[in-house]
Every structure is written in C-alpha cells, then in structure tokens.
C-alpha cells in the first residue's frame, strides 16, 4: 500500500517536530530531570509504563469513569435537549440551569463533590457536570435547526409524534449531537483527571500523576500526560468513525 502525505499533513508533522525540538532545547537549557526531562527519556518512560503491572487497572479505571460519565451525559443531554428543543416552556426552565453549570468553575464542583461523594465517584460526577451541558446545548440547537417543512409533511401524512421524533428529529440532530459529544469528550477527560488528582481513588491516571508529582518524578508526570492525550485522541477517532457510519446519507453525494 502506498501512503501519500498531503501538504497540510506535512505541515502538521512539522508542528509536532517543532514542539519536540522546543522541548529538547528547553531540556538542554535547564539540564535537570527534576525540572524538564529529555523527550527521548520521557518516551522510554512512557513505553515502560505499558509494562507496569498496574497499568491496565490505572488506565482502565480512568476509561471506565469516562465512559460511564459520558453515557450518563449523553442520555440526559440528548433526552432533555430534545424536550427543551420541542417545548419553549421546558427550555425556559432548563436554560438557567445550563448557564449555571457552564459558568461554575470546575474546581468549585470538585471541592463540593469531595465533601459529598466517595473518591471513585467524584471524577464521574465532575465529568457528567462538565459534559452534560455541551451535549444538551448542542441537542437543543439541533432540534431548533430541524427543517419545519419536513415535520409539516410528516404531520400531513399523520405520522405519529413518537415516530416524527425518531425518524425526523433524531437523524437531523445527529451531526449536532456528535459535535457536542466530541467537544464534551475533550473537556471530559481533563475534568476526570483533575477529579482523580484531587479525590485520589485507588486507581486512576490522575492518582498516579499526583503521586509522581509528589516524588518529583517529572518524567512520569509527562509520560502519564502523553497517555491521557492518546486516550483522548483515540476516543475522538471513535466518535468520528461513528459519525461516518451514522451519517452515511451525507457522505453518499
């Protein structure tokens, strides 16, 4: 198979190379593993993490929290979003709640969650509160953008309300839900790891990052960061692949 690389891909590769060079330059300048380890050492450290006996538990626990938080946000975000998109009254009720959720600093939610909940659920709770507003807002926007003429057509043909929601509204808002899910995921992983750093559950990327930081293992902190970035990237790809499969009618033009 011949792999061809486009011009923009070359530029992106150059950007990564630039970041690595900058990192190497700074590492040489500080010349201390306690401040900034060398990129190649960090890479070795990252790879060595995969071999650690606890690795699967640590990453698995974080992924599990992410997936649970995401699933709950998705169910409530889409459900309430559809209701608010269809009913102005319910939208008026939901709007202030969303505004408060979106403008509350994550750290404030964490501090409260630490008092209310156990260490394992704090990150999930925070993930839900950060992801839900994104998905919900996008769903509302999606419903608002639905072609009213299609709805009118369905009504003339006496299609039931539930089927209108399922076959007219839901497919129409799918691209909105996916873009909401994608930004929610991006923010969600960060929120989960902050939550883990502060709540210290037994397993979790945040937990191990925090202990590495305590012992000034800067290379381990960065190595775990790289793994967190990879995780976020993998889930972003999964969402995009799902989009291609669901929105097949768009691609077929």
């Amino acid at each position: 198979m011949k792999i061809s690389i486009s011009r923009t891909q070359w530029i992106s590769i150059a950007a990564v190379a630039f970041m690595l060079l900058l990192w190497k330059g700074l590492a040489l300048y500080f010349d201390s593993d306690f401040i900034l380890p060398h990129p190649e050492d960090t890479l070795v450290k990252t790879l060595s993490l995969f071999g650690e006996s606890q690795f699967l538990f640590v990453v698995g626990a974080t992924i599990l929290r992410g997936v649970i938080g995401f699933a709950i946000s998705l169910i409530f975000g889409v459900g309430l979003g559809i209701a608010a998109g269809l009913s102005n009254d319910f939208n008026a009720f939901l709007k202030p709640i969303l505004v408060v959720l979106r403008s509350t600093p994550v750290i404030a939610i964490i501090l409260l969650a630490l008092i209310w909940l156990n260490a394992n659920s704090v990150p999930i709770f925070i993930a839900i509160l950060t992801m839900f507003p994104f998905i919900c807002t996008n769903t509302i926007d999606g419903i608002r953008s639905v072609d009213k003429q299609l709805v009118e057509m369905a009504q003339v043909y006496r299609v039931g309300r539930l089927r209108i929601v399922r076959e007219v509204y839901v497919p129409a808002i799918m691209p909105f839900i996916i873009s909401g899910a994608s930004s929610a995921m991006g923010i969600g992983w960060r929120a989960i790891i902050i939550g883990e750093v502060l709540s210290q559950p037994r397993y979790g990327i945040g937990t191990v990052m925090h202990s590495a930081q305590t012992f000034l293992n800067v290379d381990a902190v960065i190595a775990w960061t790289i793994i967190a970035v990879l995780l976020s990237y993998i889930f972003e790809r999964i969402i995009r692949l799902t989009e291609k499969r669901i929105v097949v009618w768009r691609a077929k033009q």
Binding site: M153, A154, V156, Y157, R158, V159, G160, R163, W249, K252
Partner: protein, 236 residues
C-alpha cells in the same frame, strides 16, 4: 358527492386574502386551480390540509378525509432512501411486507425502478419530485393536494412528470386539487379548471373538460380556444 368551501375568511394582518369565498370540488376528479403566483393559493391548500387556521367559514365534506400533499419542494427525508421515504408514510397503515410491496409498486409507476436504495441527495430534482408523487399516491388518502409541484422544472421533465401523474391517477381516480400558475398543466390534467383573481380572491372563471386525460390533444382547436379563455381570465 362534493366538497365545499363556504364563506371562507382569511387575512394576514392588513392583507385580506379571502372574504366570503366559496368554492366546490367534485370528488373523484382533478380540479386545477389557476391563479397568479403568490396569490394565496398555497394558503387555500394549507387551510384545506388543516395547516393554517382560517378566520372564518366552513369546510364541508372535508371532515375525516385522509390527505396526501405534494408540496412545491419534494420534502423527502434526506437520511432515508427512496423506498424508506415512501414507507415512512405507510408504517402506521400497513404491515411491513404489504408496505414494501406498495412502495415498490409506486416506485415502478414513477419509473424509478433500480433507485429504491438511493438517497435523495443522489437523485436529480425531477426524480425527487417523482418520489414525492409516488409517496402521495402510495398513501391511502381520499384527497391529494398539489402545490405547483412542477414549478422550476424544465419543459421536458414537466411533460414526463405530468404523464407519470396522469398514468397513476387513471388507476384509482382519487380526488385531486392541483394548484398551478401554468395554463397548459391545467389543460392536460384538469377535469375542472378554476381561475382565481387577485386578492381578495374570487373565482373569475370555471371550465369543465369532459375529455379523457389520455385522449387530450393540446394542439386541437378546442384546447387552443380554452387556452385563450383561461389566459384572458387570468388577465395575461
């Protein structure tokens, strides 16, 4: 049997569309409504369809009638295939196997065999409108409303669609109310042609044609004469 619109009243703000407006439609016939574009003809159809509330008046005989509506735009669901778009309106009325058979039959009637699994985005404008026609006829309705479904299509396509339409109509002779601003479309399809004037709308002329759709010769003196009468009534 016939349908009546009695003393219809409808205005939008200061714009008075209908005042004491009366009109009858014969059942089992195609009634064409001719009138200037944007003169409230769509509003009339929407009132009949129950999409717009009139300010006053009575619709007699329409109660309980099941409607199909062919809009100016095809209004197909972009995420459903041709087959699915037709089945979409049949789901509550038929079992799955029956529904598939009906959809396939009408796809064939509008000459779209082989396109059943295509999405609307993969079809031309004329093909999409044919799907909308198939959907309207596949639906078990008593009355079909058509709002200038051929507007903006080229002449050849128009003729094809008109032929497709009259072929399907011959099969079950449903009541059709066909709004258009094109005199020739009305002459080709109408059993009755009604000419409406400017707002507030009143009936300016009413013509009946007792010739079978298949036997109409547009170049005959009879139709030339009718064409002249209708153009005069329209004030062209």
């Amino acid at each position: 049997m016939s349908l009546h619109i009695i003393n219809l009243h409808k205005s939008y703000g200061d714009l008075l569309l209908f005042s004491n407006f009366n009109l009858d439609f014969a059942e089992g016939e195609i009634t064409c409504i001719l009138g200037p574009s944007g003169g409230g003809k769509t509003t009339l159809l929407n009132i009949i369809a129950g999409l717009v509330e009139p300010n006053g008046g009575n619709l007699v005989g329409f109660n309980g009638k099941v409607l199909s509506y062919i809009f100016q735009d095809p209004r197909l669901l972009p995420w459903q295939t041709v087959q699915e778009n037709i089945e979409f309106v049949l789901t509550d009325a038929y079992e799955q196997t029956q529904r598939q058979a009906i959809a396939s039959r009408f796809i064939k009637l509008v000459e779209l065999t082989g396109f059943a699994s295509y999405y609307p985005s993969q079809l031309s404008g004329g093909m999409r409108q044919r799907v909308a026609i198939a959907r309207a006829f596949a639906y078990p309705s008593d009355l079909i409303l058509m709002d200038e479904p051929l507007k903006g299509l080229d002449v050849k396509l128009k003729m094809n669609l008109l032929k497709a339409f009259s072929r399907i109509w011959q099969a079950d002779k449903r009541t059709v109310i066909f709004v258009t601003h094109d005199v020739d479309e009305a002459l080709m399809l109408g059993n009755t042609i009604i000419v409406l004037g400017d707002i507030p709308i009143a009936v300016k002329a009413r013509v009946s044609i007792d010739i079978d759709l298949k036997k109409r010769d547009m170049s005959s003196d009879y139709f030339k004469n009718l064409r002249l009468i209708l153009h005069n009534a329209l004030g062209d």
